[in-house]
């Protein structure tokens, strides 16, 4: 079983509600689910869609073909009907669309009328739609009604029952009318967790003891702030909406200086405004974590779409030289654990750390059995209370063996915590002399960098362990690359090298990935951008030149068949 459902329509028609509800039903049914969203920078109208793929086998990408299209408007039909598989169905409401389609793959369900009749109001039309999709799939409504109970708890019995009836009506109607529906779903299993990239980053931050989050709203990172605010009383993470991104990062630095773990989040345009603050974090050795959600640029670009176009920017942003940590998760699970690790390393080494993601990972939902919470790291590296008070003397930027100076919490002891954006001495006071400068650069940069590099995990190799074809990628392309490799590995000795911890660039001690690359007949770098930024990075770090490149820069993610096709073309000559 491997079905894809697409819900299409205008912004504001409830695409998200329908999509979220269906994916929840599938994940609770124990299926593997992958969803991705495509929407415009507007609140009403236009054309958006929500694509859900579910299967009894793991799925981690969207496919070109769809089995069920829920068309909330005419545009969805003419835009997507050619994507329908044979045996696939387009379900719609001829009264709302003011058009009747006679062809056999169309199923006309009067969402609106059924909502009024059964639920008593047309606002339940979306529930009818959900019910009918489940009917088409031959699934019962048990899970759905539980979900409806949760969703409308606050609204009371009345509303719940009305929605249940609406769902039932859609369900029964579909079963009765959809004669051509031949879908058959696998037996249910234990519920899986369904989580998106931004949610995983937010919970990951909490797991790492993040206490302060300041940001200015910007797609695709806003979800982190919204989630933390939805949990404000449980988590107690103080979220402050700043007046601009400059304030956002400087507030986070203030919070960090004052003694808590702090984070900010934004997208390229907002990060551009944080660059000076990034440099400040480096000079004052103030830990901070930055969640940077990429979207197509330059400038405002495509505000709600996806691209991997900010890699080199994140790596080189800010004046002056300092170590930085950059992680590029490929799944919500990786996002969760890498965010946790980012906080740990940022504080341990007193450097800025990035979670570099993109709109595709931010909004995509994945299913997991569970996250292994054993792997969560938490250690408080700050110098507080008694430990701080008991010190004989204290210098915020003291020269040490490993370059790490004690990070005292101001006010906890009589020792003063002094830091400065100017070059400074051990105590944190302004200096002008060459000797101190040289020692400070050695401390801040040259001593710490190799130590941080030791903490970096090598890339993940998937597939053949002695491959003739190596496909390389980073970040959000993980899922689609993995499935593409699965698909191709039958015919060929192929493997996939995925980088999630890219700065400092991983050593080859733990795993000699360079050997893998050098040993292959053909190496291909796949990136969601126009210039091959990761390939450039790999060359400057390792000298390796990829033989082939697959790039996409239309603001959309790679679809499975599309990528397989491109890979086939590249490796054809082998």
């Amino acid at each position: 079983m491997d079905y894809s459902i697409k819900i299409g329509g205008e912004a504001g028609q409830g695409i998200q509600t329908i999509g979220d509800t269906l994916s929840k039903v599938f994940s609770r049914a124990g299926y593997h689910v992958f969803t991705h969203q495509d929407y415009e920078s507007r609140i009403r109208g236009g054309h958006n869609f929500y694509q859900i793929r579910f299967s009894d086998k793991p799925v981690s990408s969207s496919r070109e073909k769809i089995d069920i299209l829920v068309a909330l408007d005419k545009a969805s039909i003419h835009l997507h009907e050619r994507e329908i598989t044979d045996g696939g169905q387009i379900v719609y409401d001829s009264t709302t669309l003011r058009q009747k389609y006679e062809r056999s793959e169309f199923l006309d369900v009067p969402f609106m009328d059924l909502a009024k009749e059964s639920g008593g109001s047309k606002i339940m039309a979306n529930t009818v739609a959900v019910g009918s999709v489940l009917g088409m799939l031959g699934m019962n409504l048990e899970i759905l009604s539980n979900i409806l109970k949760d969703t409308f708890k606050k609204k009371g019995e009345e509303v719940i029952r009305a929605n249940e009836n609406a769902a039932q009506a859609g369900h029964d109607y579909a079963i009765k009318q959809c004669l051509k529906c031949s879908f058959s779903v696998a037996p249910k299993g234990p519920p899986r967790m369904l989580i998106s990239g931004v949610e995983a980053i937010a919970v990951g931050a909490y797991s790492a003891g993040c206490k302060f989050y300041s940001a200015y709203p910007m797609t695709p990172s806003t979800g982190i702030m919204i989630y933390l605010n939805s949990k404000i009383r449980e988590f107690g993470v103080l979220v402050e909406q700043a007046e601009d991104e400059i304030a956002a990062i400087n507030m986070a630095l203030g919070a960090s200086f004052a003694g808590v773990r702090a984070m900010t989040g934004t997208s390229g345009g907002g990060f551009a405004l944080m660059v000076e603050g990034l440099s400040l974090a480096a000079m004052t050795e103030t830990p901070i974590v930055i969640a940077l959600g990429q979207r197509p640029g330059p400038a405002t670009g495509f505000p709600t779409r996806t691209e991997q176009g900010e890699l080199l920017f994140a790596l080189h942003a800010a004046h002056g030289e300092f170590p930085r940590i950059v992680f590029t998760p490929g799944t919500p699970e990786q996002a969760f654990f890498l965010t946790n690790k980012a906080f740990d390393l940022a504080e341990k080494y007193q450097v800025p750390a990035f979670i570099l993601f993109d709109q595709y990972l931010a909004d995509s939902e994945w299913t997991f059995e569970e996250f292994n919470l054993e792997k969560i790291r938490y250690q408080d590296y700050r110098l507080r209370g008694e430990a701080f008070r008991s010190l004989q003397e204290y210098k915020r930027h003291a020269f040490t063996e490993n370059g790490i100076s004690p990070l005292g919490v101001p006010g906890d002891a009589k020792h003063l915590v002094v830091t400065d954006s100017d070059e400074h001495d051990e105590e944190g006071h302004i200096v002008e002399d060459a000797e101190t400068r040289v020692r400070m650069v050695e401390k801040r940069l040259l001593k710490k960098l190799p130590l941080i590099r030791e903490e970096i995990e090598p890339p993940f190799l998937y597939g053949n362990s002695d491959p003739e074809i190596v496909i390389t990628g980073f970040g959000s392309t993980f899922g689609v690359l993995k499935e593409a490799v699965d698909h191709l590995s039958g015919k060929r000795e192929i493997a996939f090298l995925h980088f999630t911890e890219i700065s400092p660039f991983p050593l080859t001690e733990k795993f000699d990935y360079i050997k893998i690359l050098k040993g292959a007949k053909i190496t291909i770098c796949v990136e969601n951008n126009a210039t091959g930024q990761f390939a450039r990075m790999v060359r400057s770090e390792t000298g390796h030149l990829f033989d082939e490149h697959i790039r996409k820069n239309d603001g959309r993610p790679f679809l499975l068949e599309e990528l397989i096709g491109e890979l086939d073309a590249k490796v054809g000559r082998l």
């Binding site: 994940s27 609770r28 519920p191 899986r192 967790m193 369904l194 989580i195 949610e199 919970v203 909490y206 797991s207 003891g209 206490k211 302060f212 300041s214 949990k231 404000i232 009383r233 449980e234 988590f235 107690g236 103080l238 402050e240 700043a242 007046e243 400059i246 304030a247 400087n250 507030m251 986070a252 630095l253 203030g254 919070a255 200086f257 004052a258 003694g259 808590v260 000076e276 603050g277 400040l280 004052t284 569970e370 919470l373 969560i376 938490y378 101001p410 006010g411 002891a413 009589k414 020792h415 003063l416 915590v417 002094v418 830091t419 400065d420 954006s421 100017d422 944190g428 006071h429 302004i430």
Partner: protein
């Protein structure tokens, strides 16, 4: 009981005769008289001659970027609202580069004190006009004289309903000390604009110039009357009022955030179990 010596810091890199020396001296006295120990305060300063001040006394210090003192100070206060947090900035720093943060810090009414060393010039960068430079003043970078209308920080404060707005003069130590004390004691965001002669680059607004013009606001004056305050704020020219121009008792931001009511954010432990609880909701 702190003593003045406890506050002796590095040797100032300011010019002989600079108004900043008066501010530094008075500031130390105010802190000592308020019985505040160096470790009990955090000074956030920017870049400029004013921004160097924390190095010249003793205190916890975050000498950050030009123009960004207030966001840093806000982050500190939200994290540890038991500390006294003072932002020290130049006129270019907080009215020019950092103007936006001032607007929003006043709106938040975060309990931070902003002391502005207002020399009506960019000192450290050698004499370009600042937002408070007077119209017509000619500089190397304003060959036709300053064309923009002088920014009036006090009127701005009144318009934004800033909870404490005062002005003083580095040359009037007693008055300045009193203003500093009141600003520190006031519960809420406090803007204290301090006239500070720059003896090298500002040949218009000299020590004498200020001395001849500033007058103490009479005791009967009621700083809680916003309209009167606005009138006072507009006084400029031969007579310039110094003192508390406007004051109100708006609640401070720190007290309006339920999650830090009982204890500062800094003191709140991490409850690891909640990670699991949160993740469970995704099933």
């Amino acid at each position: 009981m702190p003593k003045l010596e406890d506050y002796r810091g590095q040797i100032p890199a300011w010019c002989p005769g600079c108004g900043n020396f008066g501010i530094l001296k008075t500031f130390k006295e105010a802190l000592v008289e308020l019985e505040i120990e160096p470790y009990q305060i955090i000074i956030v300063s920017g870049i400029g001659q004013a921004g160097k001040l924390p190095h010249y006394l003793k205190c916890n210090t975050f000498n950050g970027l030009h123009g960004r003192t207030l966001p840093v100070a806000t982050g500190i206060r939200l994290t540890n609202h038991e500390m006294l947090v003072i932002a020290v900035a130049g006129d270019g720093d907080c009215y020019g580069e950092g103007g936006n943060h001032l607007l929003h810090a006043m709106r938040r009414n975060i309990n931070v004190k902003l002391f502005v060393h207002d020399n009506q010039i960019y000192g450290l960068t050698k004499g370009q006009a600042s937002p408070t430079s007077m119209e017509g003043m000619v500089t190397k970078n304003q060959p036709f004289g300053v064309l923009s209308e002088q920014l009036n920080p006090v009127a701005l404060g009144v318009a934004l309903d800033c909870s404490f707005v005062a002005r003083s003069f580095s040359g009037d130590g007693e008055h300045l000390k009193e203003m500093m004390k009141q600003a520190i004691k006031h519960k809420g965001f406090a803007l204290l604009d301090i006239f500070q002669p720059c003896v090298v680059f500002n040949k218009v607004n000299t020590h004498e110039w200020y001395k001849q013009r500033v007058y103490h606001i009479e005791p009967e004056y009621n700083p809680e009357d916003r309209i009167e305050a606005f009138k006072r704020a507009l006084e400029w020219g031969d007579r310039i009022p110094i003192g508390v121009i406007y004051r109100n008792n708006r609640p401070i931001m720190e007290e309006r955030i339920p999650i830090i009511k009982d204890s500062p954010l800094l003191r709140q432990p991490l409850d690891a179990s909640k990670t699991e609880t949160a993740l469970r909701e995704f099933y």
